[in-house]
């Protein structure tokens, strides 16, 4: 995560040139014959160099709570309610805030080459006039695929804060584990051995020690993309805008 932040900061830093001036369509179009840039981006998140979850001793995810991503949606709270099957009642104004927590977030993403160019695009606008529109052209080659290594998360879970918040006030706690996105419950040891076939419906050998949740998702492979993507502004004269 630190790496991402640094990346974002670095990107921000590059746009602080002074004297930015307007370039209209005609001016942009007049510029030609300039080669674009080839970019390569490598993101390695919570993994060792060989694409394995870095949760060993001294690894960045030795404490798995620091390898979570939590997402809270506006006005999602629960309040204790013994009459409900789950013991909690939905509340849209106050209560323990709910978080959708992605656990064991990890992955290596290597965009080996992405061409960044400018190109002209022609289309007919609303008044049926031909417009020559300068566009950003992002290009990819299948011969240099995007390398995706164990990109995903180990479990997805709904967690709740141990303190109450409301739509107007954010609760707090001195104990970090009261925050939903730091919670790290795991499945308990199994009651039966691997050779025993009759498994009671309790935590199994497969789940033992894993962080709780209801599904994980993992991608692995070389994503071969061929082609280019034109990106341009869709202004009021465009038939779709």
């Amino acid at each position: 995560m630190k790496k991402i932040s640094t990346l974002i900061l670095a990107l921000c830093a590059t746009v602080t040139h002074a004297e930015l001036q307007t370039l209209d369509n005609e001016a942009l179009q007049a510029i030609n014959g300039q080669a674009g840039a080839d970019l390569s981006l490598m993101l390695n998140l919570n993994q060792t160099a060989n694409g394995v979850f870095d949760n060993g001793s001294g690894g960045v995810c030795q404490n798995v709570e620091f390898c979570h991503i939590g997402l809270a949606i506006n006005k999602r709270f629960v309040q204790a309610d013994a009459t409900k099957p789950s013991g909690w009642a939905e509340n849209s104004d106050s209560g323990n805030k709910l978080w959708l927590v992605f656990k064991g977030v990890q992955g290596t993403l290597n965009i080996q080459k992405m061409g960044l160019d400018g190109a002209d695009l022609k289309y007919l606008d609303k008044s049926n006039t031909e417009i020559i529109k300068p566009a950003i052209q992002l290009s990819f080659s299948a011969a240099q695929p995007i390398l995706i290594r164990n990109f995903g998360f180990n479990a997805l879970s709904i967690e709740q804060d141990n303190f109450t918040s409301s739509t107007t006030t954010q609760g707090s706690s001195s104990n970090m584990y009261d925050y939903a996105y730091f919670k790290k419950p795991t499945y308990a040891a199994t009651a039966n051995s691997g050779s025993q076939q009759v498994a009671p419906a309790t935590p199994s050998a497969y789940d033992y020690g894993r962080e709780t949740g209801f599904m994980g998702l993992m991608m692995n492979g070389n994503l071969a993309i061929q082609g280019k993507v034109m990106v341009f502004s869709c202004d009021g004269s465009h038939p779709r805008c």
């Binding site: 789950s86 011969a143 991608m219 082609g227 779709r240």
Partner: protein, 710 residues
Amino acid sequence: MTTLNYTVCFQKTVLASLIGLFLSQSSFALEELSDAGLSETTGEGIAILPQNTFMVFRGAGPNESVNQIITDRSKDTGYINYVPVGPLSVAAADTSGNGSVGPEDRAVGKADIFLYGLALSKSDGDANSRIANTSAAAAISSWGTGANPWIFKVKTATNVPNFSTTDSSLYPVTYLSLEAPLYQPTVDGVEGADAYNLKLGLWADAFVRNPNVLATTNGSLAQFQYGNSNGLIGTSIDTTRANRLRLQGILNGFSLNGSQISMFQTLGGATSSGGMSPFYNNTLGMSGLVRLNTGDSKNTSIVTENVTSQTQTYATSSNNGWQTVHAGANSTLSTNTTGDCGNSGTGSFSTLRGCRYYVENRTRTDTKTSNKTRIAFNDTSKVLRFSTRETSDSPNASNNLYTPAFDSAGAVAPKFADSEGLYLYNPNINLVLGNLYQPLILGSDGKNFSIEIARIANKPEIYKQIYTDYTGADTTYKGSTCNVYSCVNPTHSSITIGTVYSLDNGKTLLANTGEGAIGVSFGRLISTGTQVSGTSAGTLVSLTNSVSGTTSATMTEVRFKQRQQNTQIWNQEYSCGLFNSNCGYKTAGYLYQWEYNKGTGVWVITNPTPKPADATPCSGVLGCTSTSGSTPMYGATSNRDWTNSAIPWLTSRNAVVNDLIGSSNGTTGYVIPTANQAPALSNISPLNNLGSASIDGVLIQHLKLTTKGL
């Protein structure tokens, strides 16, 4: 608005400024846009146009040449793995239903699903390839057009009612949407044609995982071995059990055009009453319109029929073929115009059933001479196919627990047989998942996760935007079905497969029931002479490609006239005794006539005899008697004439007539249709063709999907 949180909070303004950054087309400096500012920004967005593109998910490994990627399908082993987490619930594992999990239960394991080789490209029309075999054939030249690209934009819808049934105000809703190109094949022309001919290919391995074995990545088969030879948990494991479903999915010739997804903040006003929930209020709302269309298929047919001659002949040529069955002159069945009914007299008449009906019938024979041919149909350019059989030379075909994800050394994709599986021809799938009036929201009971399409609020401002008046009489109902013909104000979903048409410009859909209609098929539809028989697995039977000959049908219809006795009563005699004692009407007079059924609930007396007036009262010391007419009186002969033009023919079902004439003379209630009724020649549609299917006008009133047991 969502709040993304790790250790920093992305504030709404950050999101807004990011969007604002993309929207600012030629600004001097980057400026933050407030939410209010954003809501005033309309009609602008970021247009995205992919060109000359294809994508395929290859196995992890060194870079390959484009030619290698396009021509070698064995390395389509890049995967997306759905990882099972969490214990099986007792409800899932206790298949015997005895309340506990034991050796008597089926081996229910966790589902471990690998989706491999996801490929998106231009369709080559082959239902057994995940991507075309040349780079040029695989490339989508332009996914949309310059004038009709993908668009990422922010827009404000004004005049959206909230959920409250008492608040009739209208509010603005600003939404962020990603829209595919519009569905307009004729407008997009050649430039955008490839967007209507896409191909999606993938294959999958889905395992039953043994919950008692740790997951390994070394390819150990033990993790997928579960269940004994009877499929029960038992006490042993049958290692030869095929605990894997291998599946290939190919979708040819489709477009995503017209699809869109939106995100917005829902409005408020919902309470716990009326089936609503306050959880709907002011939270993240979403809506989706998913359109997977392969195009208009109303003329797709695999059987053509050429009719060379046809006739329609009545058994007799006079009187338009009508013949008298019963002349209504005799109390029992008789074609004679004389009998015991008294039709030619003026005195009493019989009211037995034979005197009350006049019956005719006619018999028509239709013939049709035609020849019928099944056309050579090998078109798989617009089909959704799921198949599972591998070819005999497929790598690792004998190992029914192999999957490339666990084979780090020689991961290789299987080869699938080319004509087996479920074929869904010409699918057109248009799903409406929520809209601004009925958002899709995310919820939770504190542990489980749920997706809900909000209940439609019980207020006209909302439900009139969603419901449809199919008669078109009330235009305040704005909703309509989204299908391949029409998708204006989409609120209702439709799924059609095969030959489907619309008689009302897309308002409603009908599946073609003709013999040549295609749609669902087990195995590829074929045009050659043999195919697998349904009676004996694996047996090939000869399938006729054409049939010709003459067929005929003979039908009889019945018509009748009906009458019943009409009785009128008057005071026929008035009298007094001595000294005007005991004066009064003494005798009632009766007039009997026929009245005839006009067929509309009205009966009419033909040539009626007027009823005499009541007798005039009289007086006299010695008594008196006054009479008017005589009794009984009967209708004139002309009242008994069936040929009176005021008497209509009836064709409705009448049990008395049926009983009178007997079934050999036909049955009332059947009218021979105008069209030729000669039966079709024998069916030459392939045995595996199940025909077309249409699911039309699906409205989601309220839908909630939730995980359980967490």
